[in-house]
């Protein structure tokens, strides 16, 4: 059984080279972590915080980056972490909207490169460390799906 880590984590929109970075949402794992991890067995879905709205969009081939700063210096592992980040993909030519949930960790669609193949990331208590990034596909732009529940937990096997 993995132990959950407490950390502040945030969503950043960045260009493809990650030179331009814009923070668009900020959470703590106590909001998005333990209670959600046990859902739906015996937890109330209302425990999950809603994703805030933002006026920023990530254009095609831009990146949605997850960063974390630990409450204690520790290592987090992708195989022991997980979560769903709700976003909207908008088709540039037609304007059609697609609702997606980006999956963190090793399981399922494993959308965040850098944190999906038993990757280990060392967190510290002073700076935000990049966990992984999702690249917006060609022909689309992406933004946060405001109002949808956010679920993310970070853990390691120790």
């Amino acid at each position: 059984m993995s132990a959950e880590e407490a950390a502040t984590w945030r969503i950043v929109f960045a260009d493809n080279e990650e030179n331009v970075n814009q923070v668009v949402a900020d959470f703590h794992t106590t909001q998005t972590g333990s209670a959600a991890l046990l859902y739906p067995a015996d937890q109330d879905a209302l425990a999950l915080p809603p994703m805030p709205s933002t006026g920023f969009w990530a254009g095609e081939q831009s990146k949605i980056v997850i960063q974390a700063k630990g409450d204690a210096a520790d290592t987090v592992e992708s195989e022991a972490s997980g979560g769903f980040i709700p976003i909207i993909l908008k088709h540039l030519k037609s304007g059609a909207i697609i609702h997606r949930k980006l999956r963190l960790g090793d399981l399922g669609t494993a959308d965040f490169t850098g944190f999906r193949s038993t990757d280990d990331i060392i967190l510290n208590t002073s700076t935000f460390v990049r966990l992984g990034a999702y690249t917006v596909p060609f022909g689309y732009m992406a933004t946060l799906d405001g109002g949808q529940p956010v679920h993310l937990f970070l853990g390691d096997d120790t």
Binding site: V20, Q22, G55, F56, W57
Partner: protein, 153 residues
């Protein structure tokens, strides 16, 4: 020279009856008609009526030309905007198109000029709409929700 034959009395009587019938009056031989010719004084000057030449109408009328011009502008707007975007950059929308259509209207004639003039009216109207001058009417207009500006990273 041949001698003229004198008409007989019967012929003369018949001709007389015919003249009377048609109201031509009596035939008078050797009576020169006198005419009085009246001429205007040389000091009498009247403005001559100018010859007005009317141009044939195009067959569509003013309203038809406005509609056709609008169609032409609607079709041509996007390609022109795509070209001018490289030169005008961020101003390529309403103000830029206003400038471009103004230049086109200045240097062309006919239906193209018509389309450019209509384009200027359309761009000016869009520009004024964007200024959101509803407050000037003292609350007579309904308020609109503010637009969320989007920034693309």
């Amino acid at each position: 020279m041949a001698r003229k034959r004198k008409a007989s009395a019967a012929v003369r009587a018949r001709l007389k009856a015919l003249r009377r019938k048609h109201g031509l009056g009596e035939f008078k031989r050797n009576s020169p008609k006198s005419r009085t010719v009246r001429t205007r004084s040389s000091s009498f000057k009247v403005a001559r009526k100018k010859k007005v030449s009317r141009r044939k109408s195009g067959g569509f009328g003013v309203m038809g030309k406005a509609v056709i011009g609008g169609f032409i502008y609607g079709v041509a707007r996007q390609p022109i905007q795509n070209i001018t975007k490289n030169f005008l950059g961020g101003v390529s929308d309403e103000i830029g198109m206003l400038l471009v259509t103004g230049v086109i209207a200045n240097f062309t004639t006919g239906q193209i000029r018509n389309a450019a003039l209509i384009g200027m009216a359309i761009e000016a109207s869009t520009l004024a709409k964007n200024f959101n001058l509803g407050g000037l009417t003292g609350g007579l207009t309904t308020s609109s929700t503010p637009q969320l500006t989007t920034t693309v990273i």
